[in-house]
């Protein structure tokens, strides 16, 4: 439904997005995950035709957004980060205006406005001025606006930003309910949101895709081993050597060293508890064991691993292969 090939967007010398490619299948919800400034909004703006790409192609429902912008835009509903509403207008007046410029046939306008107002729970504020609504209502008016012409593709930029927890849950339910009928791309920097709403995740950092997969796949792949942190006092190379010989250990990486105190990150086979063995190995060799703890990778860790500066650059140099 959405095909992005080698998308690059530069603002003068600054590269916002560099050579991003991905596809979204019909009815799928794809999550864009990344820190602020990673290029999520830029990518979405190019898909929706708000910005023209520096290089690369974007096709929506098989239509190139640069070559046939009007046709592509008919397939698109877009909710920018700040809902694009006119504060002076009343909700119903606004939705009617949007229906007209989105090309909803004249006779269907009233019915469509009623439908989306109902669907997005803004029917009770139809006569109110948008500027006087709460942030949650305004967000839902924005969503209603994106749905008014029943587009195949919905692009939602941080749809839950600024909402209270109850509204966040409602909005997520609403979005999940739209999947299947609509193909959805949504961006967020909030992690639970991704695992709760999206079927597939694209992690973007500094304008590049650093990982791709289902939330479970990402977790499993990056957590495909047990991690134990061992802090001991003694000669670092020898400790490392000894730890490596413990059965079940795949990899030992030095993490920090201060004076004679060193910390290692030990990766072991999945499902194997090597803590007791590690402790014995250190103590029996006559070194002092100071700390021993397991460390699991949460989605937060993955995110940080993929997006913090030095690791991010490393990841960019050797991107995690996409799971297909």
């Amino acid at each position: 439904m959405i095909e992005v090939e080698g998308l690059t967007k530069r603002y003068g010398p600054a590269v916002a997005v560099s050579d991003i490619s991905f596809q979204v299948q019909r009815g799928e919800i794809l999550g864009f995950l990344g820190p602020n400034g990673a290029g999520k909004t830029t990518t979405m703006r190019v898909i929706t035709g708000f910005l023209t790409p520096t290089a690369g192609r974007v096709r929506v429902a098989g239509v190139d957004v640069v070559e046939k912008p009007l046709e592509a835009k008919r397939h698109l509903g877009y909710l920018p980060e700040n809902p694009p509403v006119y504060p002076d207008m009343r909700v119903r007046e606004y939705l009617t205006f949007v229906a007209r410029i989105k090309g909803v046939p004249r006779n269907d306008i009233k019915r469509r406005v009623d439908e989306v107002a109902e669907k997005c729970s803004v029917a009770d504020v139809q006569k109110k001025q948008i500027g006087k609504l709460s942030k949650g209502y305004r967000q839902r008016v924005g969503l209603a606006q994106a749905l008014i012409h029943d587009p195949d593709v919905l692009v939602l930029d941080e749809p839950t930003a600024g909402l209270d927890p109850k509204q966040i849950i409602e909005t997520r339910d609403l979005i999940r309910g739209l999947a299947g009928r609509h193909t959805i791309i949504l961006s967020t920097h909030i992690l639970p949101e991704v695992s709760k709403t999206c079927q597939r995740v694209l992690v973007i950092n500094q304008g590049q895709v650093v990982a791709e997969g289902t939330p479970e796949e990402l977790t499993r792949r990056l957590q495909g081993y047990e991690t134990v942190l061992v802090t001991a006092e003694g000669p670092a190379p020898e400790i490392m050597d000894r730890l490596q010989r413990v059965s079940g250990v795949n990899l030992v990486e030095p993490r920090e060293a201060a004076d004679t105190r060193v910390t290692f990150e030990v990766h072991a086979e999945k499902g194997q508890d090597v803590r007791a063995e590690l402790a014995r190995a250190v103590v029996e060799s006559g070194w002092k064991l100071l700390e021993l703890k397991t460390s699991g990778l949460s989605l937060e860790d993955i995110f940080l691993k993929l997006t913090t500066k030095d690791l991010g650059e490393e990841a960019a140099a050797n991107p995690v292969p996409p799971v297909s």
Binding site: T48, T52, Y78, P80, Y86, M89, R100
Partner: protein
């Protein structure tokens, strides 16, 4: 066409949702009324004096010459310099600030439809101002007998003059998110365009003649007299088209940058 009208309608409603339309209309009506009254009162005094002196064989004074022409040429054109920036400042600046540019640009409408729609919306408000002027001028027809055809020519010229300023003001509004800046810069540009014909009083070189030609008021003189000269019409239509074209270029450039 449908899209253009939808946007034009939205613009007109936006003017009346905010205080801008009422402010502009009130400001215009009061000033226009004051000057109209002043010209009529002066005319009356002069007429009485002429009558008292027995006419001295001079032709009777002419309403078009003594009231309508100075009203449009000397006063209303200056009032427009102040009011047109107030009308155009929000056209793009407001959309950029509110983030609604994203709605318009990602809708299946062309830039041209958006620009023409906005321009028509702004011109609709200006048309209301022109109609208000004719409420005053209409009283001349009740109590006197001005000639109608020259007045039509003047009205056409006034509309074109306002249209040219409007199109440039809209272009300037595309550069900023700040309506005050849009209005300020528009006023400065329009004022410069307004006074450019002063050059003709002291410079007779080619450059001087060109500058005087570019001046927006140079071409209003004939209209104010009640004469339609094709070259004046061409001038104003060219400025309108230029303004719309520059707006289109500027909007296009926004998509490349941010």
């Amino acid at each position: 066409m449908r899209n253009t009208l939808a946007i034009a309608g939205k613009e007109v409603r936006a003017y009346f949702h905010s205080p801008i339309a009422y402010l502009v209309m009130a400001f215009y009506t009061v000033l226009c009324g004051f000057f109209f009254y002043s010209f009529v009162a002066t005319y009356q005094m002069e007429s009485f004096r002429m009558a008292a002196m027995g006419g001295m064989g001079a032709p009777p004074m002419n309403l078009n010459q003594y009231i309508i022409r100075p009203l449009f040429e000397g006063v209303l054109s200056v009032i427009l310099l102040l009011l047109i920036p107030l009308i155009t400042m929000r056209l793009y600046a407001e959309e950029k600030r509110a983030g609604t540019m994203e709605l318009l640009v990602t809708s299946p409408v062309t830039d041209g439809q958006i620009i023409i729609g906005k321009y028509l919306g702004a011109m609709a408000l200006f048309a209301i101002l022109v109609l208000l002027t004719f409420l005053y001028i209409g009283t001349l027809f009740i109590y006197g007998n001005p000639s109608f055809k020259p007045l039509l020519a003047t009205a056409l010229g006034y509309f074109l003059f306002g249209g040219a300023l409007m199109s440039l003001g809209m272009w300037i509004s595309t550069f900023t998110k700040n309506q005050i800046i849009a209005a300020g810069v528009s006023f400065a540009v329009l004022l410069l365009l307004y006074v450019l014909d002063w050059v003709s009083t002291y410079s007779f070189s080619t450059v001087g003649r060109v500058l005087a030609y570019i001046g927006a008021t140079t071409h209003f003189d004939n209209f104010a007299k009640g004469v339609i000269d094709l070259s004046d019409v061409v001038y104003y239509v060219s400025v309108i088209v230029l303004g719309l074209f520059l707006t289109a270029r500027s909007v296009e450039a926004l998509k490349g940058r941010a």
